[in-house]
């Protein structure tokens, strides 16, 4: 995984790390400065995105807001221009993977699914979906792995491998602008939603934070210099300036949980799949923005 080019440097040894920990902990006070999300429209190549949608019943606010509205002008601009958006490099790489034969079965994604612009249009807006075979919800990454294993004779992708991120980004990008909408009536989705909701409000870690501590109770405030969004899932995988790389949803969830100084659950574990179901549902109505650009 790529990191900021100069960030890996200064910290060496326990001393620095402990010092850092203290500083981080003491700095994790929410600033009382409230900044409104911007009142602007996001159009990508002339297609208007829905960045504000009526909140689902039960959520403690009227509107759900895309994280795009919380970013500075320069970051917003990067997403609005599909050429300037570095995430589009991964879309192009994903297209290449889609059309490349791989594995003993001699198949590419395109062998079965043809042109992704048609076959995948709008599909990712309805993920995670119930998977009857595994009796759990699966996201796009797991859906790709299922194809690789069952039809292509391949191993699942290594979590966060470049190819996994590129292909996921490419497939989700085929739903650009489509409103997020999950079918909770499928299989056992409702109970996974319940479980995800519990996890969302569960305080964990040495900092005793739940997802809701930052992204619900303090959304719109600042944590150090970060303008806290509602933590929506609609733009993932997202190009994050900090890593200068694509960041998957489960990578970010693990990062968030780690920052609360809690044990980090494994990617695609039951815990994070449940959270993905609930989190995605919270953003119902927002456009898929993959690849979004965030700080």
């Amino acid at each position: 995984m790529r990191r900021g080019a100069w960030e890996g440097l200064p910290v060496r040894g326990k001393f620095a790390a402990i010092g850092a920990g203290v500083l981080v902990a003491s700095a994790l006070a929410f600033s009382a400065v409230q900044a409104e999300p911007v009142d602007e429209t996001l159009s990508i190549d002339g297609v208007e995105m829905t960045t504000r949608a009526k909140a689902q019943e039960g959520l403690p606010f009227d509107e759900v807001l895309s994280g795009w509205l919380f970013r500075e002008a320069e970051t917003r601009q990067l997403e609005a221009d599909s050429f300037e958006n570095p995430g589009m490099l991964y879309v192009e790489r994903g297209e290449e993977i889609w059309n490349t034969v791989e594995g003993p079965a001699g198949q590419s994604c395109a062998s079965c699914h043809g042109d992704a612009a048609e076959s995948m249009a709008g599909i990712a807006a309805h993920y995670p979906k119930w998977d009857a075979d595994s009796q759990r919800p699966i996201n796009i990454e797991l859906r790709i792995d299922k194809c690789r294993v069952e039809h292509m004779g391949l191993e699942p992708y290594k979590f966060d491998s470049d190819d996994q991120k590129a292909l996921t980004t490419y497939i989700k990008h085929q739903s650009l602008g489509e409103p997020v909408n999950l079918d909770l009536a499928e299989g056992d989705m409702q109970s996974w939603w319940e479980r995800g909701k519990e996890r969302y409000y569960l305080r964990t870690g040495q900092l005793n934070f739940a997802c809701a501590s930052c992204h619900e109770a303090n959304s719109g405030l600042y944590i150090r210099a970060d303008h806290l969004s509602q933590g929506q899932a609609n733009g993932f995988p997202t190009y994050r300036l900090k890593q200068a790389d694509m960041v998957s949803l489960h990578n970010r969830l693990r990062g968030c949980i780690r920052d609360t100084r809690a044990e980090t659950p494994a990617a695609f574990s039951d815990e994070l799949m449940a959270l993905e179901v609930y989190l995605t549902w919270r953003g119902t109505g927002l456009s898929v923005e993959t690849p979004a650009v965030r700080q």
Partner: protein, 108 residues
């Protein structure tokens, strides 16, 4: 990503003498040579150190690049086109690799 991927955006057509805007992007880690790995060893520098844009064999714009340019380097600049022809874009890597792209423009 393993293999650097160039992307360029050039208008398809222009009027004679028009000043057009060109945008370029290439996937590259731009390893600065300033980072250390978990064992404390310096990760060697590996960046794109030179970018050039030619039109019909003549240089339009070039830049000499330091490690302070972000990963996936982006360059936006202008070109004055008098005739139809081909833009050629060249990125030179520290390891000697050269990445190229071409784009045609029709001057009406």
């Amino acid at each position: 990503m393993a293999t650097p991927r160039p992307r360029v955006k050039v208008p398809k057509t222009a009027a004679a003498g028009e000043v057009i805007t060109i945008k370029t992007l290439i996937s590259h880690d731009m390893e600065s040579g300033q980072r250390k790995d978990s064992e404390g060893n310096t990760i060697p520098r590996k960046i794109i150190n030179k970018f050039t844009c030619d039109f019909n064999g003549q240089t339009v714009f070039s830049c000499d690049i330091d490690p302070a340019i972000s990963a996936n380097p982006y360059f936006e600049f202008n070109a004055k086109v008098a005739e139809s022809g081909t833009f050629k874009f060249t990125w030179v890597d520290d390891d000697g690799s050269v990445y190229e792209a071409e784009e045609k423009i029709e001057v009406k």
